[in-house]
């Protein structure tokens, strides 16, 4: 059924070729297995573990990620064929991002977890990273869904592991139910695609979609994509599907919230890019622009997401809720890039989107990391007012946090500014009315957003510190601080020399 070569490859060839494409993921998943298997043996029956065990698991986790990095740097771009996996430039980019995020999240998780549960938590995190990669690597509807679930299922565990109070339970249950619902929507959409195309191979689907004969088929593709967009909107927290985010962010630890603020977005947008381009028959992302209907849907989602995220963030007093709404708003900015698409007449919207995803990841993980570093495991920072006076009690943390927050608000000496500028340029140079409206809404929302980010800065530097904090907690979370330093530095570096990131983000367009 697939396009066959002259000498039919044996099953070993196929397996060899397929595994060759996923070496970084194999490394990660092997480590996951090792952790799950060995972890319980190091913990006593009552759940007591030798003190400092979490450091060992953390180091193992970092080691696995570094090996995956090495494997990633050796991957090459291959033409997608009949196999279950592919390795194009989008894969290369997303892998790089997810592995970097994996390292940062491991550092964040480091001191947020008991010694007894560290093995499982780190294993879940690695599985999530592997799943993120699988979504992009997938050359098959089944593998796409497999990747999505490999992200979701460990997430449920990871949310409940660090803390098991009622709030965390409520948050996990909420996330669990809505995630299942969204997976069902995606799966239903994928089944429609299979129904029309008669195959699950993405390359074949693209070929089939390129010469659709009947309007019925075209319409069915649209319905399928509508379902997929709806299902994935849950992951990227686009607006009608965002309800869970503030509650979940509020309930879980800041390391889990950090993961939720970035990884699902990366997964969602890479899946959307892949599935949308394929089901409109685009052979590569370079030539894919959303059709009028899809663009309209994406634009409506983007506008609603930006406004709801930013306006609701204005009134928040809980910092994690505020960051949840901020992450919703940023999903809206990214949707602008998706709605513009490849944009044949100017700045590529897809490149702008991918650039923004990267820089957003660094900034948001940085804010969460520094929030973790500013609090302690027993009394984490929950309320916005607890930030007050941080500029005096913990000057380094506050300064780094200010850099990341300025980045999120899109003010100049940070990469966030260039990210928004690219999106804006892409939307404006597209030429269609929808895109221009998006550009204007983006600008308006940048202003609204700036006001609550500014409030955070103001609290840190202008308010006197609250009495309990004036003693200054000891530096209990050094790993998170290291992650925060990296993020703040990256935010500034991307501003000073952005070319390499932009080239990486456009590379996929050449695939």
């Amino acid at each position: 059924m697939e396009p066959s070569s002259i000498i039919p490859p044996t099953i070993y060839d196929v397996i060899n070729q397929a595994t060759g494409l996923i070496i970084p993921e194999i490394i990660l998943l092997a480590t996951v297995c090792l952790m799950f298997l060995a972890g319980p043996f190091l913990v006593s029956e009552t759940g007591q573990a030798p003190a400092g065990l979490r450091h060992r698991w953390g180091i193992l986790s970092l080691l696995a990620l570094s090996c995956a990095f090495v494997a990633w740097s050796n991957t090459s771009v291959v033409e997608p064929g009949a196999g279950p996996f592919r390795s194009d430039a989008l894969v290369w980019y997303v892998r790089g991002l997810s592995l970097t995020a994996g390292i940062l999240l491991t550092l964040l998780l480091w001191d947020q977890i008991d010694d007894g549960k560290a093995a499982e938590a780190h294993a879940c995190l690695l599985a999530i990273i592997a799943g993120t990669n699988f979504v992009t690597i997938a050359n098959d509807l089944v593998t796409v869904f497999l990747g999505l679930e490999l992200v979701s299922i460990p997430t449920y565990v990871l949310l409940i592991l660090p803390r098991r109070d009622w709030k965390a339970r409520e948050a996990t249950i909420k996330y669990f139910l809505l995630s299942i619902f969204s997976s069902a929507l995606v799966l239903y959409g994928l089944s429609w695609v299979f129904g029309i195309a008669g195959t699950t191979n993405l390359t074949a689907i693209a070929a089939r979609a390129a010469d659709v004969q009947f309007d019925v088929d075209r319409g069915m593709f649209r319905i399928a994509m509508l379902l997929v967009i709806a299902g994935l909107s849950f992951r990227i927290t686009a607006v009608p599907f965002h309800f869970y985010a503030p509650d979940v962010f509020q309930g879980v630890t800041s390391s889990s919230a950090a993961m939720l603020s970035f990884i699902p977005k990366l997964v969602g947008f890479s899946a959307l890019l892949r599935l949308l381009s394929v089901s409109f028959g685009a052979t590569s992302l370079a030539v894919w622009t959303p059709s009028e209907v899809v663009r309209f849907i994406l634009a409506v989602l983007a506008i609603a997401t930006m406004f709801v995220g930013n306006l609701l963030a204005l009134r928040q007093t809980n910092i994690l809720r505020l960051l949840a709404y901020s992450s919703i708003a940023h999903a809206g900015y990214m949707l602008v890039g998706l709605a513009v698409g490849a944009n044949l007449s100017g700045t590529s919207g897809i490149a702008a989107l991918l650039f923004y995803v990267a820089i957003y990841g660094v900034m948001t993980l940085g804010v969460f990391a520094l929030l973790t570093a500013a609090g302690s495991f027993t009394s984490p920072i929950k309320m916005l007012s607890e930030l007050s006076g941080l500029g005096r009690t913990q000057p380094v943390t506050a300064l780094l946090m200010a850099v990341c927050v300025f980045g999120l608000s899109g003010l100049p000496p940070t990469g966030g500014f260039l990210g928004k500028l690219n999106l804006f340029l892409a939307a404006w140079s597209d030429g269609s009315t929808t895109s221009r409206v998006l550009a204007i809404v983006l600008a308006v929302n940048a202003v609204i957003g700036a006001s609550y980010y500014l409030r955070m800065i103001g609290l840190m530097y202008l308010e006197p510190s609250s009495a309990e904090q004036s003693t200054g907690p000891a530096m209990t979370q050094p790993a998170a601080l290291v992650a925060g330093m990296f993020c703040a530095a990256a935010t500034l570096i991307v501003f000073v020399s952005p070319q390499w990131l932009w080239d990486a983000a456009t590379l996929l367009a050449k695939s």
């Binding site: 992302l285 700045t347 340029l425 550009a439 006001s451 952005p498 070319q499």
Partner: protein, 568 residues
């Protein structure tokens, strides 16, 4: 020359970083010494820059062999005479074709050199005036001041739209902190209002800029953010008038707020009143110039049609209203600082009138007025700060006859007021005269109305001087809070050092304005060439008009006006 420029960007920034890094171990004395040495070093660098500009750039210009230091074409309306370019970000479309090339592009022309010198001079005065007044978190205060200086210098030497905007915004943050932490009783409100008001304006500007860049990039210019290239391209391919007007209005939004032009000035009096003296000096002296500089650098060269059709009538009218309204408001103030703040609204009205006269005299007058206002209003704020430091009040009702107690301060106040009023022989006269003369050629009605502002200016400033410094001596009681009588001393050496250079320059520029005019003349000529041979109300614009080189009549007109001034 570029090395000097980088040094003058790096020195204040490095001093600020040092101040922030060692703020724990620096006490008030060492931090202010560090700040002073940083700002004085920057001043010297900028003076060197000025001297070198005069010898390296202007001398060859007179003799005719122009050095090829700039990549911009001869006829360009914006032509940096020395420049530094570094590729920053090439934005590509999906096939890898470059659609927009962002650059780190710094360049210098006469206008920027003059304004950089003004900035560094006022920063030194600001540091000196804060010497005793700022004792709380001194190192952070000076760090903010020096970062502000870096941002201001950066704006004046940016030749790339994005860099321009980056520095433009960068100035907001330190000034926000200066007002919010070290300001008066109502500082939080003032700081937030200042920040949000200007940010809202400049974000509209940003939208306009990006829309312009996107439009131009679509039309085929691959370096759409380079100011000289953009100005050249727009001169060769003029945009349709409607489009020009919409870009012009969008870009103006941020500048109108910053200047501030009449209906957008409401943030200014509060910000000035609440800001610490150093903040007021830099806010009035340089920060407001960012608005006028924005008009001069972006709007005038790029949208000639829009400037004629919308700029001259609309912004001219608003400026005239601003002059009259600001003067009347100043007249009714009892707080001297607020009075000076409102006088800024009026004075910048003259500056805007000059720029939008759209001819050589007008633009020259506008630029002169930018420098003059920086000097005289900066000095006025310094004096108000000195009085406040001594009496802890600025109310005209509480003080009077201070000339008996503080003869030297009174003397300088009278001198600076004369300069601000525009007494012939002092700097204010030259700028106002040229602005009004230029406007008279473009729109006599506005010029006549604005002239009334000169009279009003004399009225409110002289009234204030008379109330505060002459008549019977009235001083607020000072001895209750500390238990011992407060000794009021006259101008001390530190304050004299802060004030004297400004006063000396006021006199110098009044007697010998040609020294400044010849610095900016080539750039103003290139700019006004765009407006030379077009009809006053354009119906069809000659696309070639932008390419006519600085023509013969320009220097003639200028030397004529110069003669008038010198003869006076």
């Amino acid at each position: 020359m570029i090395a000097l420029l980088f040094l003058s960007l790096a020195v204040p920034f490095a001093s600020a970083v040092l101040l922030m890094l060692f703020r724990g171990s620096l006490n008030q004395t060492s931090s202010r010494l560090l700040a002073l040495s940083g700002s004085v070093a920057t001043l010297f660098l900028s003076l060197l820059l000025l001297a070198q500009y005069k010898t390296v750039v202007l001398k060859p210009l007179e003799t005719g062999n122009r050095p090829a230091v700039s990549s911009a074409s001869e006829a360009s309306a914006i032509r940096p005479r020395a420049e530094f370019r570094h590729e920053w970000l090439k934005i590509t479309d999906s096939s890898g074709k470059v659609t927009a090339r962002l650059e780190m592009y710094f360049g210098l022309d006469g206008i920027s050199v003059a304004l950089i010198a003004l900035t560094t001079l006022l920063t030194v005065s600001s540091v000196l005036i804060s010497w005793e007044a700022i004792s709380d978190r001194a190192s952070e205060f000076y760090a903010a001041l020096l970062i502000l200086e870096t941002g201001l210098i950066g704006v004046f030497c940016s030749m790339d739209l994005v860099m321009f905007y980056v520095f433009f915004e960068l100035t907001l943050i330190p000034l926000f902190f200066l007002i919010a932490i070290w300001g008066g009783p109502d500082r939080r409100k003032a700081a937030v209002r200042f920040f949000l008001y200007t940010l809202a304006g400049s974000l509209i500007t940003l939208s306009g800029l990006v829309a312009l860049v996107a439009w131009v990039a679509r039309a085929g210019l691959t370096s759409p953010t380079s100011l000289p290239a953009l100005a050249d391209w727009l001169a060769a391919n003029p945009l349709p008038q409607a489009l020009q007007i919409s870009f012009f209005l969008a870009l103006s939004a941020g500048f109108l707020v910053k200047v501030p032009v009449f209906p957008f000035h409401t943030w200014l009096p509060l910000a000035h009143v609440e800001a610490p003296t150093a903040g007021s000096v830099l806010l009035a002296g340089v920060l407001l110039k960012l608005g006028t500089y924005g008009f001069l650098r972006l709007c005038l060269p790029m949208f000639p049609d829009a400037c004629r059709v919308v700029g001259l009538p609309m912004i001219g009218l608003l400026s005239v209203i601003g002059i009259l309204y600001g003067s009347f408001c100043a007249l009714s103030q009892r707080d001297i600082k607020k009075l000076v703040a409102y006088s800024s609204v009026a004075h910048l009205g003259f500056c805007m009138l000059g720029l939008f006269a759209l001819n050589t005299e007008g633009i020259t007058g506008g630029v002169l007025q930018m420098v003059n206002h920086g000097l005289s209003t900066g000095a006025l704020f310094l004096i108000v700060g000195m009085i406040y430091e001594r009496y802890h009040t600025r109310m005209l009702d509480d003080i009077g006859g201070l000339a008996k107690r503080l003869p030297l301060i009174a003397c300088s106040m009278v001198f600076i007021s004369m300069s601000s009023i525009g007494l012939p022989g002092l700097n204010g006269f030259v700028g106002e005269f040229l602005s009004l003369a230029g406007m008279f050629r473009s729109s006599p009605v506005y010029a006549v109305l604005a002239t009334a502002g000169v009279v009003l200016g004399a009225w409110y400033l002289l009234t204030a001087v008379q109330l505060a410094f002459f008549g019977t001596l009235r001083e607020p009681h000072q001895d209750d809070s500390h238990g011992h009588p407060h000794v009021i001393t006259d101008l001390n050496a530190r304050e004299f050092t802060a004030l004297a250079p400004l006063a000396a320059l006021c006199l110098w520029l009044g007697v010998f304005p040609a020294s400044l005019i010849e610095l900016i003349e080539p750039d103003v000529a290139a700019l006004s060439a765009l407006y030379q041979d077009a009809p006053p109300v354009p119906v069809a614009v000659n696309p070639v008009s932008g390419l006519v080189p600085a023509a013969v009549p320009v220097p003639q007109v200028l030397s004529l006006s110069q003669r008038i001034i010198v003869a006076d």
